[in-house]
Symmetry: C2
Subunit: 525 residues, 2 copies
């Protein structure tokens, strides 16, 4: 019996769930570590858990533990849920470390996601929670062939359409390999029969002509587009542009921007919540009413054989000091914060907490009077890459082709000297840098800019950095210790995962932590 016939039989007789289980076993379904909603079986008998931090890890833990029968409470520094799951909208205010306060003046419906902003299709857990909690998603356009690649030293500083660089690079590669193949350079590695198919494939993929050349003509135009597009009626024939030569392509280094088109983390189809990433944190919070205490700044975490006591300042109550207690603790604070808090855990866990630096990241949102990138330049979503300090300009993945204003992500600088230089600046100066850099790619900046907002993550009071940065070495030495249950405390968050800096890592970390904690609690009776 063939594998597929078996599946058809299973589907017809046993229904969808059995079919899916069979598909997974037979290798048809994705091998995600997430296997759908968890079930924590067994009665916790009134046990209580205090959770620190109402980010996605903390709220996942609270939601699932409450469903399993635990008494849960969350202490949260901010006055909103979500943590780094955060959307800044018009009317919001934000004060960074150093005291600079910004009021967001964006128009209604426009926003900046300072933290996470996109969800890969293979982040099964967050997609499942969005489905269960009714968070509407829309495609996030990561890959846009009509956006730009730009480098100050390449092509006289003139931005190049990604599609032209991509088509011309792939065409040149295909032509070179076809030439090498026909010269016999592959004879040792590839059979003659396979070489024939390879040549056919190179021609098809690379836009080569019948003589395996990549040159101006219909074959290349199928990929790179035209100098003048085809039209209608008389005088409508298209004209072809001249491909960029290999030497210019290589020395421009613009090909560095092309790998984003293929990376697993950025492949189609990606998503964003309609209305901003913060919609996810808000949806989680609605599932756990009255569980979150906002404005609670944790200053100490102490455990003994009987329970956990957490000391915190009530920021709403003028800084009065309070204590909350529970049987167990899930600490979902960033390590950058936790490492500054008095916590009595084992030496190996403490060493792990102190071992992970946090990334320096700066994002700047810019509101413009009109969506000139769409109207003038036919760039609908996606990202332009540059070697300027802003590194990226990302175009909004919503409100396509409509009149009116829009907000660009005018800079997204991850790590490196530029991120530290920007962090050292005032928000107003960061916005000025974003405008000066962006105008080199979009001259319309000069006449269309209205207002901006900038977030430098090392100045964000509740996290002091964007995400934990592991190395192979720190992971080998510390990761296991970080994830162990230490007495009555277990950690959760993107830092306690193999998917750092992604929301999926935070959720999977929390699910793993509470699953183990639950077993420990049942076993400790």
């Amino acid at each position: 019996m063939r594998r597929r016939d078996l599946l058809l039989l299973i589907g017809a007789t046993a229904g969808a769930t059995a079919m899916y289980q069979a598909m997974t076993r037979l290798g048809f379904a994705a091998e995600s570590p997430y296997r759908g909603p968890i079930t924590l079986e067994g009665d916790p008998k009134g046990a209580s858990v205090i959770i620190l931090g109402a980010g996605l890890a903390g709220m996942t833990a609270a939601y699932e533990l409450a469903r399993a029968g635990y008494k849960v409470q969350i202490l949260e520094y901010n006055t909103r849920p979500g943590g780094r799951n955060w959307t800044i909208r018009g009317g919001d205010t934000y004060t960074e470390l150093g005291g600079a306060a910004q009021q967001c003046l964006f128009d209604d419906g426009l926003y900046l996601n300072p933290g996470p902003w996109r969800i890969p299709y293979h982040h099964h857990a967050i997609l499942d929670y969005c489905r269960r909690f009714g968070v509407a998603l829309e495609p996030f356009i990561q890959l846009n062939h009509n956006a730009y690649l730009h480098a100050t030293e390449a092509f006289g500083g003139r931005p190049q359409r990604i599609r032209e660089i991509k088509a011309d690079f792939e065409g040149a590669i295909a032509e070179l390999l076809a030439k090498a193949t026909r010269k016999g350079a592959l004879d040792e590695a590839v059979s003659k029969e396979d070489q024939e198919i390879l040549l056919e494939a190179l021609r098809a993929q690379g836009g080569l002509d019948k003589d395996f050349r990549y040159k101006a003509g219909d074959d290349a135009a199928d990929f790179r587009g035209y100098a003048r597009d085809p039209g209608g009626g008389l005088a409508a024939a298209p004209s072809n542009g001249e491909p960029i030569g290999l030497h210019d392509l290589l020395t421009s280094r613009l090909w560095r921007g092309l790998q984003n088109f293929a990376l697993y983390d950025f492949q189609t189809t990606m998503f964003q919540p309609v209305g901003g990433m913060g919609r996810i944190g808000e949806a989680f919070a609605r599932q756990i009413p009255k569980v979150i205490r906002y404005g609670a700044k944790v200053t100490a975490i102490q455990q003994d054989d009987h329970g956990v006591a957490v000391v915190f300042e009530d920021l709403h109550g003028g800084g009065s000091v309070e204590e909350a207690t529970a049987d167990w603790c899930v600490c979902a604070l960033p390590l950058s914060i936790l490492s500054q808090i008095d916590v009595n855990v084992s030496a190996p866990m403490k060493a792990a907490i102190d071992a992970v630096p946090y990334a320096s990241v700066v994002k700047t949102g810019l509101q413009f009077r009109r969506r000139f990138w769409e109207e003038d330049e036919q760039i609908f979503g996606g990202i332009s890459y540059t070697n300027l300090p802003i590194r990226q300009i990302s175009y909004p993945s919503t409100g396509f082709n409509a009149a009116g204003k829009g907000v660009l992500l005018g800079g997204y600088t991850w790590g490196g000297p530029n991120s530290y230089e920007l962090t050292a600046m005032s928000p107003a100066d960061r916005i000025k840098v974003a405008l000066d850099c962006g105008a080199q790619i979009h001259p319309q900046y000069a006449s269309e800019f209205e207002t901006g907002i900038s977030v430098a993550w090392h100045r964000v009071p509740f996290t002091l950095g964007c995400a934990g940065e592991w190395t192979d070495e720190t992971r080998r030495q510390h990761y296991g210790n970080l994830c162990q249950i230490d007495g009555r405390i277990v950690l959760a968050g993107e830092h306690a995962s193999y998917i750092p800096a992604w929301q999926e890592g935070a959720i999977l970390s929390a699910l793993d932590a509470i699953t183990r904690l639950h077993k420990r609690i049942l076993a400790s009776r």
Copy 2:
């Protein structure tokens, strides 16, 4: 003064329009033949134009001519606007040539676009009309790395994730070319300095390891994904899958499906109207109230020195024969229809009308109880390609990640023997073929199918085929004659464009035709 400084100056002093014009002249903006809304200057002094066909070409002509002051009327065979711009929704009925009647039983909100279903970013004219007429667009996901490539003879008939075939093919190509480069096979064609950069680029693009090999490991996983994805907490390290070998890749021929990822016509970002492609035709019709006469089947078109007379059957009036007259005529009927109508045009135009065959295309929509392709297989939009008669399965680009039902495009067969075989079948048999084929890719078909609908374009009464199929030879011989103004008649439609089978071709053809007609009319005074 640098080009860019000039633009900044223009933008700051003269505003957006001047900036855009300057950008275009300096080569920054796209070279589309569409230059924004047309203006037909000069008073038509009461001249009348009869337009045949309320598809996008006919309605574009009517809208723009009416704006310019002409008296316009449209005769339309169907009881709805749009022509091939058509969405079938639950409750609709459709009777094809041969008499088979189908009632669409799709749930509310679900639909099939039997004709056009996607809009490229570089189709400037239709995007502009959507903007002006308030048609909301959403991304159409054409390229989905997690959809399948499938061939009955490849990999035991087991569908392969596009991302794996794509990453492994590109990795193998990069490895081969790196090997050839290092052996000196490129020494004649590429300088040593450029070879060094080329190797760096091949490693970055191809997911090669430090020794320029494409093999199971972190570098390949960055592109092809994992056997087991990274997770959170303990035991969360990912595991890598084994890449598919070059011989298997080549002989599978699945690489044929990859070129869609790069073609200009299918590149990101594509669009569809929210609610179905038919929203565009409906929006055009709202702009020209009382202009369209529905249920009018044109049977003869006669012109003389004074005007044009069109004979038509009033299908609503039991087939009574009527005549409509005007000073001029824009005929936007498909050539497949027009070639069967008595029309007194010049011999060269008549020859052109008769010279263009129409494509045989079959589309089948299938409603399923749940969106198993998303829930079970993480396929969000995009297209799976197969060598089975259905050729494609396209997943809906709306309602992502939500519970509930969904409609797949369960088959889209363009040309070739399969399209004729399917056309010869009853709609019920076409649906059965779609189910049988589709179940080889998605075994869930067996348990989840509810209802389907199928359109074979050679049986569509109002067009008798999908779109005009030009060859280089017929275009050389006939295209110019087809597009000429013949006395008082000019033709319009996708067939009178260099963008056949696309709505953009229909609109650009109409704009070109009426621009020339208007000049002729003013000059004829």
